[in-house]
Structure formats: C-alpha cells, structure tokens
Symmetry: C2
DNA sequence: GTTTTGAATATTGGATCCAATACTGTTAGC
DNA sequence: GCTAACAGTATTGGATCCAATATTCAAAAC
C-alpha cells in the first residue's frame, strides 16, 4: 500500500502553479496587476526559474498576459469578454450535459448529489472559498461524465476566466440560497433523466450568475485585496 | 519609417516557440515522440531555459504532454480524440460563422476570396506546406470576423490538434481538387449571404477531411519523418 | 530462466549569475 | 513651463552550473 495521498508536488513549478492559481481565484492577484517574478519566488521560497515556467502555463491558458521584457499582467475581463465566455459556456455546457446523459447511472448521480451537499456544507461553515471549489466540483462531476477531455478542459478555462469575479457572487447570502435551489432543480432533472430540463436548469443557473459578474465588472476598477501583493 | 515588418522575435523563447510549432505541423516532431530539451536548444543555438519556457506554453495549449522528471511527449491523437475535436469544431465553427455574418461586408468578402485564391496558388506551386497555412488563413479569415477572440483561440487549438495529420490529406491531388470546390461553395454561400448554407458547406468540408485524418490515424503507428529528430 | 539489486548514464529541475531591456526621475535646453 | 536627453534603477531574459530523478543495463540471487 502506497502513501499516494500524501504526495506533495514533485516539482517546484507545480507548487508555484497551484499557489498562483489560488492567488488568482482568491483575488490576491487582481486583474490588471503585474505579476512580479521575484516577489512570487521569494514568497514561495524558490528561485525565479520555476516561477517563470509556471507563469508560462498560465499564459498558455490565458489567465495572464505577457509582453516581452515587460512581464506578466493578470488578464482583465472586459464586458465583451464576459459575454463571449457565457455564450461559449452556453454552447459547450449544453453539449457536455447531452453527452453526459448516456453515462448517467445511480452511482455517479449519488456522487453528484454528494457534491451538491458539499457546497451546502461549505455554506454552513461560512467557508466562502470552499463554496467556490465545491461548486466547481459539483458542476464538473456532471460535465466530466461526458468523457470528452477537451470539452472539459475548455470549460474549465472558461470557468477560470470568471472565477476572480465569481467570489463576489457567493459573498451574498441571497445568492447562495438561490444557488442551492438551482442545484436542487438540476439534480431533480437528472433524477428524472430529463436532458432538456437539465440543460435548461444549467442555463438558468448560469444566467443568474452572469448578471452578478457583469455588475462586479462594471463597478469601479477592481483593486488588490488586503492580502499579499506580489505587484510590489 | 520604421522597419517593423522585419522584426525578428524579441526573445529566444518566441523564436523557439515558432520553430517548435513548425516542427509539430510539418511532422518533424511526430506524435508520441519525446521532445528533448538539449537537442532542441542545441539546434536552435540557445540554452535550455528558453526552450523549457516555450515547451510550457505548448503544454498549456495541449500540443505536448508533460510528466515531471520525464519530460515532454508530442501529444498523440486517439480516434476518440479525433471524434471529440470534430464534434467541438462542429459546434464552434457554426457559432463562429453565425456570429461572423453581421460583420460580413464586401471588403472582407474580397479578403476571404483572395485567401482562397492563395490556397490555389500554393497548389499550382506544389507548395504543400503553403497550402496548409493558406487554407488556415482562409478559414480563419471568416471565423475571426465573429470578433470572438476566445472562440477563435479555441478553434485554433482544435485545428492545431489535427494539423499533424492533415498534411497527408493535402498530399493527394484528388483531395486538393475537392478542397478547391468546397471553398468555392463556401464563398458562394457567403456571396448570397446565406448563413445556413455557409454553415452546411463548412460542415461538409470538415466531414470530408475528418475521414482522411481518421484513416491516417488508424493506419500503422506514425513514425518520425526523415528530417531532424530531436528525440535523440 | 526469471527476478532483483545496484551502479552508470541520461535527462530533467532548480539556483545563481550576468546581460538586455524597460522604467523613473532628474537635469539641461529651448 | 515644456520637452528631450540621460543616468540610475528595477525587472525580465538567458546561460551555466549543480542537484534530483528516471532510465538502462549488467550482475547476482533465487
């Protein structure tokens, strides 16, 4: 029996990658702010080399933008971007759900239901970050059933693009309650094996959140939160 | 007047990136073969650092796969992958064409027509690599009209995934003739401002090429072409 | 003959150092 | 007062070196 669960990242770049992703999601690295290699490296106790490689991955995924000799900036989302992201999610999530249905059985339906419960648990605990991750686990438990890796990957990228702004959505109790209800509706549709209803539920769920993100976006320029600021 | 057009890459990593992309498209770096950092660095006259950063970008884009301490392999396409790629192209290209139509005017229709002519020119010249790039310019001249950058980017990634195999398609004169006819049909649909016909033309065009790629894929395991082999 | 151990080799991962470029603030010129 | 040249600083880009890990292959144990 191996102790595979305790596996710390085998490379420093992976550790950096994980940490920077966290900083991006939590908003410690706010959109528009420069990402300083030295500051990140020092904070994580590594040299700049693994930092640079991790940043390249994030560049390839579109989370940060790069200019030669000027470095990296956290990608900013324009309203046009947001509209595009949600249009693409509309198309691709519908496809994912459609493709997932033939693979839907009692086992993975239970898993999905448990994932929804985990969202609620994080809510009870008042763990905002936990809600975000649990919410994603819930939705991708369904999407990944489609067994279409590229589709899953693309969807994850689209989700990532708005994650920075989604935090504000979960901050309001009213939104959290609505999310709970919408998750229940989606699960009910899955129980009834009703594809179109599931797709509609997902679409409604998505449309409700886009409004919140759009508002967060148009509201005055985002500022770096109080925490660590690798910009300086 | 500046000589901006002659701008060589401002960084070595970009030069490496360009070159590796070329190697991937031409098949010099065949699917499944390892990508050796040292060999690439030596060939391009740089150290391993910019090579590693370029490879990270390609990893982020899914062109090569990475395992810690074992390095990079050129991503292989399974038949399942291929089916997925074309299903996603089906969805996304239809969306791109739909979104492009409102922006379609005489100016960019002329540009698209010229791009189609460039494909034929490359054909007359017997320039197989030229056909591939001109073909892509033609199709993305239309897709990019949608003014949906993420959609364009995703489509490019999907095209990239099969580019390695598409070379064999253009190798046959019969296929090249068919491509010409299909391009003409697509342009005719654009001229008539007939969205559905354009989408159908694109779908037929795509379906014809997928069969060829599928065959190339199922045919015995791909081997590295005669050229440079960075695998050793 | 098969499996296992271990040393030698190949390859990748990371740290440090130096070079190249961009940015900032100051001063000189008008 | 405004602009332009310039020096100093900050930051990124790249090369070299060493460490860590994986692979290979031969020899020993069973």
């Amino acid at each position: 029996m191996t102790a595979a669960h305790f596996s710390r990242p085998p490379t420093a770049q992976e550790a950096v990658l994980t940490e920077v992703r966290r900083l991006l999601v939590t908003g410690d690295l706010a959109p528009g702010t420069p990402v300083r290699q030295e500051a990140l490296a020092e904070r994580l106790g590594v040299s700049r080399v693994p930092v640079r490689e991790a940043l390249k991955v994030l560049e390839g995924e579109g989370h940060i933008v790069y200019t030669a000799h000027r470095g990296y900036l956290v990608a900013e989302l324009s309203v046009d971007d947001l509209v595009e992201v949600y249009r693409l999610r509309d198309l691709l999530e519908a496809e994912a759900i459609r493709a997932a249905f033939p693979h839907l059985d009692d086992t993975n339906l239970t898993a999905i239901t448990n994932a929804a419960r985990a969202v609620d648990d994080a809510d009870w605990r008042g763990d905002l970050a936990g809600i975000g991750t649990a919410n994603r686990v819930f939705h991708f438990a369904l999407f990944d059933l489609a067994a279409m890796p590229r589709l899953s990957r693309t969807l994850r990228q689209l989700w990532d693009a708005t994650d920075v702004y989604r935090a504000v959505y979960f901050a309001e109790a009213r939104n959290r309650a609505r999310v709970h209800d919408e998750h229940m509706e989606l699960i009910a549709a899955l129980h009834d094996r009703d594809v179109e209803r599931a797709i509609a539920a997902q679409a409604a769920h998505r449309d409700n959140s886009v409004a919140a993100v759009r508002e967060a976006l148009t509201r005055s320029t985002p500022q770096a939160a109080g925490g660590f600021d690798p910009a300086r």
